[in-house]
């Protein structure tokens, strides 16, 4: 595929992620931080986020399935996930975490389990979207083009 077509597709895809609320302005901040001294910054941070999130989601699953649920621990984990998703601009995950924390406050196990499902879904969705976005970037670079800078 031609560079221009790939670049157009990249711009449109990125715009859709913002429009649909998967990403917010903080993601743009990350993109603007990337420079020649650290050309893979966004991919590195997002990869760290994926690893960290999967660990947290596993811990949350375990914690909520204990005989006696330690809500302090659950809340602490959700707080971490909320923080990192907010820092990379993963808006829908962040919002799902906010809801989750409310149910932690109430010590509501049923609702917390539902929230966990919701967070996992949002995580899965945004991971797919970002993987697609990064693949597009790689294709552009492979075709000899440069990645368009989003405003």
């Amino acid at each position: 595929m031609e560079v221009v077509q790939l670049q157009t597709r990249f711009v449109e895809y990125t715009a859709s992620l913002f429009r649909e609320g998967y990403l917010d302005a903080q993601f743009t901040q990350l993109q603007q931080l990337q420079d020649e001294s650290n050309p893979d910054f966004v991919v590195e941070v997002v990869s760290l986020f994926f690893e960290d999130s999967e660990r947290l989601l596993n811990d949350l699953t375990r914690a909520l399935n204990q005989q006696s649920v330690d809500f302090k621990k659950v809340d602490a984990n959700v707080h971490q996930l909320k923080g990192s998703s907010s820092s990379i601009g993963a808006q829908r995950i962040k919002n799902a975490c906010i809801t989750f924390r409310n149910f932690c406050d109430e010590q509501n196990i049923e609702a917390s389990l539902r929230c966990l499902q919701q967070v996992k879904q949002e995580y899965s969705l945004v991971k797919n979207k970002l993987d697609t976005l990064f693949r597009l970037e790689q294709q552009i670079v492979a075709a000899g083009g440069s990645i368009p800078v989003m405003e």
Binding site: Q29, L33, D52, A76, G83, S87, G89
Partner: protein, 154 residues
Amino acid sequence: MNASFSSSSSSKGMMDHGDQPHVLAVDDNLIDRKIVEKLLKNSACKVTTAENGLRALEYLGLGDDQNNTSNVSGLKVNLIITDYCMPGMTGYELLKKIKESSVMKEVPVVIMSSENIPTRINKCLEEGAKMFMLKPIKQSDVKELRCQLMKYGS
């Protein structure tokens, strides 16, 4: 000498810190540490990160071994920026320890938090925090921080 911050990342006008101020950034969240490090580096700062209050104190030479009063890091720290919510020692507790130290109390401390709680903010400012920053931190926040740093000198 004009002390205002220019919009380029040049270090002209940095008076008390040599070329690049050395910042100690403390945060238990790995992603946040990486981001704050880059934000600071992009603003012409040297950065050391620590994952909790204890490590930060050790780095500053304020660790458990109080007989070791020398700054083990060797590199003078010009600013400490710390997250508020950390397991073990909170950013507030770290701030207090720094302000209690005769060696470190003049070093400006900035507190970051994802939660906008006025009583928390006031508590930190009263304890001597230079600034409070709401997460997620943006480039404009760091630029503002650099301006503030230069206004008040070291």
